[in-house]
């Protein structure tokens, strides 16, 4: 293909083994996943989930929102609908990671209840407490998988279920128009090219 070696290497290094699983999963049911997205988008909220229970989705979305939080007025992974990307993957091409997610979410809730008795769920904790628990599992495969999926779910093409209305692109200022004209940036605009 196509991929510059450094991009691929950066990706593999950053994604680690957990992220790499997304690559190696079989490619058979992508079209079905797309169709599901189209169907889902035509439905009014509240959204149903295909792989996750509603409770799992709420906790997992809370994790996504700490990994890639809304900062200031900007949207984050929650607003981008990264959870729908993740659910879609777990229901189709990424089904192999479903047990990792099931166990990871259950583990987070056990940790929450042990650390702060009476806690109903990870999602019910304050952001500070959520971050404390996440820091403790940062090196675990579950966190690696959610980290990768949160980023992919925020910045992947919306046809995969996340990056709703391209808000992920808006966070970083990535344009997605089919055509542009020069000047493209500050340095190549005529006023700034001298010297």
């Amino acid at each position: 293909m196509f991929i510059d070696t450094t991009s691929r290497r950066a990706f593999l290094k950053a994604a680690g083994a957990a992220g790499a699983a997304w690559i190696l999963a079989d490619a058979a049911d992508i079209q079905a996943a797309f169709a599901q997205v189209a169907r889902r988008r035509s439905e009014p909220p509240p959204y149903r989930f295909d792989a996750l229970t509603a409770a799992q989705a709420t906790d997992l979305e809370a994790v996504c929102a700490r990994i890639l939080p809304a900062v200031g007025a900007a949207p984050g992974a929650r607003e981008a609908g990264a959870i729908h990307f993740i659910d879609r993957g777990l229901a189709s091409f990424n089904a192999a990671q479903k047990p990792l997610f099931d166990e990871g979410i259950a583990d987070l809730n056990r940790r929450a209840a042990a650390r702060w008795p009476g806690t109903a769920s990870f999602a019910a904790l304050s952001a500070e407490r959520q971050d404390e628990l996440l820091r403790a599992i940062e090196q675990q495969p579950f966190f690696g998988a959610v980290h990768f999926a949160t980023i992919a779910g925020t910045f992947a093409d919306p046809s995969w279920g996340g990056n709703r209305d391209h808000v992920g692109f808006a966070i970083i200022g990535h344009g997605h128009e089919p055509a542009y004209q020069p000047p493209f940036g500050w340095y190549d605009s005529p006023a700034n090219r001298g010297g």
């Binding site: 293909m1 196509f2 991929i3 510059d4 070696t5 450094t6 991009s7 691929r8 950066a10 990706f11 593999l12 290094k13 950053a14 992220g19 997304w22 690559i23 190696l24 999963a25 079989d26 490619a27 992508i30 700490r66 990994i67 890639l68 939080p69 900062v71 900007a74 091409f93 971050d131 980290h147 990768f148 980023i151 992919a152 925020t154 910045f155 992947a156 093409d157 046809s159 995969w160 992920g168 692109f169 966070i171 970083i172 200022g173 990535h174 344009g175 997605h176 128009e177 089919p178 055509a179 542009y180 004209q181 493209f184 940036g185 500050w186 340095y187 190549d188 700034n192 090219r193 010297g195």
Partner: protein, 551 residues
């Protein structure tokens, strides 16, 4: 305008003049040249045929799911660094698996080799422990075909002061300079070097009925829906079909080249989409399957007469695999660059192309300034190394840096080594039951030294460019590549090479091999124009042989 005829259709049992295996940079050109010369051609491509309406600007699909690439589940491969290691299954060699091949979604850098690149072994007095060898052709012999490739395909550029001599200018002026190119050019000049416009196989103007670049920004890894990228897919394959003598047959996975008792190739054995096996008969076979699949196919085509694999009496098939060095440095700037717009790169630097013996190692290369990462991979790997990987600080840095970051990519030599090669894995078979390829690769110390030398130069350019922050992508041993070179090298001696100077297999009179596997040395990290020039040259010679009854 050429008279448009319906594309030809042939039955597999019908003997055509040529069966071509692979539809990328070389296969497309050979299909056009041979059908244009009056011969009947069937071009077999293992992947599907996609139309522009099916192309997607989808980083997750293309880069991460590999939706247009060879699939490591159905076509597994194994990798090891040396014969003493156990080969492990993974995805190490990647290529475009669709009509048009990797050429259809390449970045479109179009660099010529320099005259001295063709006889480095002689000039440097050889290099013990390596397979460094002279090419059997010279720059002067290939120059007319470099020019032909630039004009027939359509290339935008402007020669720099270090460029080799050329018989014609570029057919189109350079594309508009991007912010990365402005910064790079200014800084490199401050250092006394010679930055120049990047030669790109992308239209800067309307060309032969195709649109100019619309600056959408999706070149690197994506096909161009405007057909502004000058590729086999956009240019050569339509011309081949328009002759009325060429059939492009997608979803046709060739797994064996058949030979007869006399040792002549009789055709290509392939699976269709329904996994039915067919033999496409032909008077000659032209193999253009890329530097990984070409040797894979030859090594799988064993017979009583060819026990080591077809065209492999030398034992050289699969050896001298070369990847090209590909490292660099990131720079963060004060103002927005918006590098996601337009082509990946608009300025390059060739001052360090030559091997300089005073450095103490073989190798050279070029540097370009570019957009490197689409959003997902940027978020995972494009930030300064000390950035937190999640949380508010991560998001703030990501949002600030995305449009203020550029990358200086280094492109450099790999030495040809017998110990870097493609063989057949003794255990693994693919989903069709075909024995899988095993890759053995370890960078020569000089390749890594060349990489470090070029990254040092890239950092100097950033320092001269008022960069706010810069950080290195440090050369390290390679295990993944999209540049697949050298595995069926050209040469005059049948004992040390696979094909002769006209791309005819030394061992099989009616088998021709032309693609990245033909390269004797690795180029300075941008092999495509050389592959295209070789294909135009091979096409002319093969057509002449056929006319004279010399096949």
């Amino acid at each position: 305008m050429q008279q448009q005829r319906p594309a030809a259709r042939f039955a597999p049992g019908e003997t055509v003049d040529f069966v071509i295996i692979g539809s990328g940079a070389a296969g497309g050109i050979l299909a056009k040249e041979l059908s244009g010369a009056g011969f009947t051609v069937v071009l077999l491509e293992q992947g599907p045929r996609l139309t522009a309406a099916e192309f997607r600007h989808d980083e997750f699909g293309y880069f991460i799911r590999g939706s247009v690439a060879n699939n490591p589940v159905t076509q597994p491969q194994t990798f090891r660094r040396s014969v003493t290691e156990e080969a492990v299954q993974g995805l190490n060699l990647l290529y475009g698996r669709f009509v048009g091949g990797s050429n259809a979604h390449f970045t479109a850098n179009f660099w010529r080799m320099w005259p001295g690149d063709f006889n480095e072994a002689t000039r440097l007095g050889g290099m013990s422990g390596t397979g460094l060898a002279d090419w059997p052709i010279t720059y002067d012999e290939l120059e007319p075909y470099y020019t032909k490739a630039e004009w027939e395909l359509g290339v935008s550029g402007e020669p720099g002061p270090l460029d080799p001599p050329r018989s014609r200018p570029y057919p189109m002026p350079p594309l508009p300079n991007k912010s990365s190119g402005v910064i790079f050019e200014r800084a490199a000049r401050r250092l006394g070097w010679h930055p120049q416009p990047a030669p790109l196989a992308i239209n800067s103007q309307p060309y032969n009925g195709r649109l100019p670049c619309q600056h959408c920004g999706w070149c690197l890894g994506f096909m161009c829906e405007f057909h502004a990228k000058s590729t086999s897919m956009a240019v050569m394959l339509p011309l081949a079909e328009a002759t009325g003598r060429c059939e492009i047959r997608p979803d046709s996975y060739v797994h064996r080249i058949e030979t007869d008792a006399a040792g002549r190739a009789t055709g290509a054995l392939y699976f269709d989409a329904a996994r039915n096996e067919h033999l496409q008969r032909a008077r000659a076979v032209v193999l253009c399957a890329n530097g990984a699949e070409t040797p894979h196919l030859l090594l799988n085509s064993t017979s009583t007469r060819f026990p080591l694999g077809l065209a492999n009496s030398s034992g050289v098939v699969g050896k001298h695999l070369m990847f090209n060095g590909n490292w660099g440095a990131y720079g963060l700037f004060e103002h927005p660059l918006n590098e996601y717009k337009s082509v990946q790169t608009t300025r390059i630097l060739l001052d360090f192309h030559e091997t300089d013996p005073r450095r103490g190692f073989y190798g050279g290369g070029g540097i370009d300034a570019r957009f490197q990462n689409y959003p997902i991979i940027f978020a995972l790997g494009g930030l300064p190394p000390d950035t937190p990987r999640w949380g508010e600080s991560f998001v703030r840095t990501l949002a600030h840096n995305y449009n203020r970051t550029l990358y200086l990519a280094t492109h450099s030599t790999s030495l040809p080594l017998e110990s870097n090669n493609i063989t057949i894995d003794p255990q693994l078979v693919d989903a069709w039951g075909v024995p899988a390829m095993r890759v053995t690769y370890r960078d020569h110390a000089d390749d890594l030294a060349t990489g470090r030398f070029l990254v040092d130069r890239a950092m100097e350019i950033l320092d001269a460019a008022d960069v706010q922050r810069s950080w290195r992508v440090e050369p390290a041993e390679t295990s993944f590549s999209v540049h697949l070179l050298g595995t069926c090298r050209m040469g005059n001696d049948p004992r040390t090479s696979v094909v002769d100077r006209f791309h005819r297999a030394h061992d099989v009179r009616n088998l021709f091999i032309c693609d990245g596997s033909s390269l004797v040395t690795s180029t300075r990290g941008q092999p495509t124009e050389t592959i295209c020039a070789l294909a135009f040259r091979a096409g002319e010679h093969i057509a002449n042989f056929a006319r004279r009854g010399e096949i």
